[in-house]
Amino acid sequence: MNPTSPDAEPALLCRGLRKIYEAGRGSGRKRAGAVLALEGLDLAIVRGECFGLLGPNGSGKTTTVEMLEGLIEPTGGEVKLLGMDWAHDESRLRERMGVALQETRLPEKLTVEEVLTLFRSFYQRPRPLEALLADVQLEEKRRAWVVKLSGGQRQRLAIACALVAEPEILFLDEPTTGLDPQSRRQIWGLVAAYRARGGTVLLTTHYMEEAQRLCDRVAILDRGRLIRLGTPAELIAGMGAEHVVELELEAGIGALDEATLRNLPTVTDVHLSGEGVWALAAVEPERAVPALRTLLQERGQHLVRLGTRKATLEDVFVSLTGRALRDD
């Protein structure tokens, strides 16, 4: 399915969506003073698409999805979900969507089966228990208490709760945060299977690999503002260079300055990535690298490491904001 085909009815549409937390009414850490959590967001997500909201912690991703899910009242703007709006069609909407919040702790002393039965009871047309257990590969854990499950199993159970009534649109807020690589791949498999059945997905993540692998389009949020929107390939192409040269010097970062590196052939952008590593965005690394070696020889500098790789969404974010996406 082509996500940009004009005749597809949008699964989700929002215009001018904004949220300001008033002084003293915000949640958690943002209590003092009014906080702008989201500033005028416009989005259109077509049916069958997997759309990713990207951004670092505190960028407004969760506030955005929870407004789209009808769980937080927006300060302004409008939301149309499956052609309906929250003020008039809440109960019908809830039947047709699935939600996995960021870190819900399901009842710890209920079994997998009991939790799924509880969620099945809320829907008019729930899918059979066996099918749900099979989907998320928890058949063998059906009688295990939630508290005994691993992080990955709990997350799969949370997604099963979201898939109870075969929703038309699935919201996943940081579905793989804190999971090991294998559990993460299992979750990706669930999302892929759901999409293969024709579902629409909106997910938030701060893992670029996840966005690149799963999403047809991504929106990058930073400090409550949309800073880029497009397919992962478009965003990478938009940097002007599709390759990144990373180098680390024996003498540390102070040995070279940004302006010198910027003057290397086909280098479009220079950043410090991580601890003492220079990252150069280069259109043609085969020309940039020899020039770099010559420069280092002239100055008597020695490399600890030199490598080239394809640019990722992480590089896009760094080049847009000058900051790393993950602070962990």
Partner: protein, 349 residues
């Protein structure tokens, strides 16, 4: 899938609450074990003993004749020197101290603290015995008739209070604390993201209490009957009604207390703020009539007072449904006002 195969939300939500409780040993102990242990401890501490003997102290110099007269009338006499006698008097080990005349011809002295009831009683007893031994004749003939009224023991007073206290705690912790915990865990928000009706959740909270309450009441009543012989003078229906009304009223108060609390520490602090003054004022352990007269209307208006007094009216005084109406009215007022305010302020997210 047909309608009949579909699990019902109220049933599932109620089962969730009951399962969580039954699978939590701590919750079971506080609901069922603690009130039984408390009634055992207090029942033993305040069990009815025979009449306490009067204990008096005597300084050296009190005649053997006087001491024999007292001892043969059942009074315990302890010979003490001046320092020991003062200490015993001060600590209440002796009710009265007999001080012999300093010089022949002067009177006996009773040294006692008139503020202490047992000291006044001791003085009167000792005086009557000594006067009689000295030859006083009683001009009026009297006769004693000793009775033991049913329901007059401390344990009879205590059990209805413990019942009321237990039902209050059950509603407050079983609903208020649980709501705050579900909010912290984001479970409330997750349930709302599904097409769950809010009233179903509140209804399930009530229903899960309704299932447990008969067991709570029965356990304490059966235990008190078997171990202490405590009886219910009035109707069980009236007792059940007071218990249900009180539980419902405190369930509503719990919803109000938990309506905005963002963490479990806040909600347990607030609940203790609500419950502790009532533990003291409402007469769970000791009659609230000991408090000054001006405070009576205020204390009577407290929901725990209404539940305690209502249960005592049924269990001790034998009140029927009609006799419990004033207490039910107080409980209903608290319940309705708390429920309306609680729902208005309630924060789901």
């Amino acid at each position: 899938m047909t309608e009949s195969q579909r699990p019902r939300p109220v049933v599932q939500l109620t089962l969730m609450r009951l399962r969580e409780m039954m699978r939590e040993p701590g919750a079971l102990f506080w609901t069922f074990g603690f009130p039984v242990l408390l009634s055992v401890a207090l029942g033993i501490a305040f069990r009815v003993k025979g009449p306490e003997p009067v204990v008096v102290g005597a300084l050296p110099g009190v005649t053997l004749q006087a001491r024999d007269a007292l001892a043969s009338a059942g009074v315990q006499v302890r010979l003490l020197d001046e320092a020991a006698a003062q200490a015993a008097l001060r600590s209440g080990q002796v009710a009265v101290l007999l001080v012999p005349p300093a010089q022949p011809g002067e009177p006996f002295t009773y040294r006692f603290d008139p503020v202490r009831p047992e000291a006044r009683l001791g003085r009167a007893t000792v005086d009557a015995i000594l006067q009689k031994a000295a030859g006083r004749q009683d001009p009026l003939a009297v006769r004693d008739q000793e009775v033991q009224e049913r329901g007059s023991r401390y344990i009879d007073f205590l059990i209805p209070g413990l019942l009321a206290m237990n039902l209050m705690s059950g509603s407050m912790w079983g609903i208020g604390w649980v709501i705050a915990e579900m909010r912290v865990r984001k479970l409330l928000k997750r349930l709302l993201a599904a097409p769950m009706r809010r009233r179903h959740l509140l209804f399930a909270f009530g229903l899960s209490r309704l299932v447990v309450i008969p067991f709570e009441i029965a356990l304490i009543l059966i235990f008190a009957r078997l171990v202490f012989g405590v009886q219910v003078a009035g109707s069980y229906a009236a007792l059940g009604l007071v218990g249900l009304a009180g539980s419902a009223s405190f369930a509503a108060i719990a919803i109000l207390v938990a309506s905005r609390a963002q963490n479990t520490q806040t909600v347990s602090g607030l609940m203790n703020l609500v419950m502790l003054p009532m533990f003291v004022l409402s007469g769970v352990f000791f009659s609230s009539t000991h408090f000054p007269e001006v405070t009576r209307p205020f204390i009577s208006a407290l929901p725990l007072t209404a539940m305690c007094d209502g249960m005592r009216a049924v269990m001790i005084d034998g009140a029927g449904l009609a006799g419990t109406l004033p207490y039910l009215a107080v409980l209903a007022a608290w319940g309705v006002v708390s429920f309306v305010l609680g729902l208005r302020w309630f924060r789901w997210g």
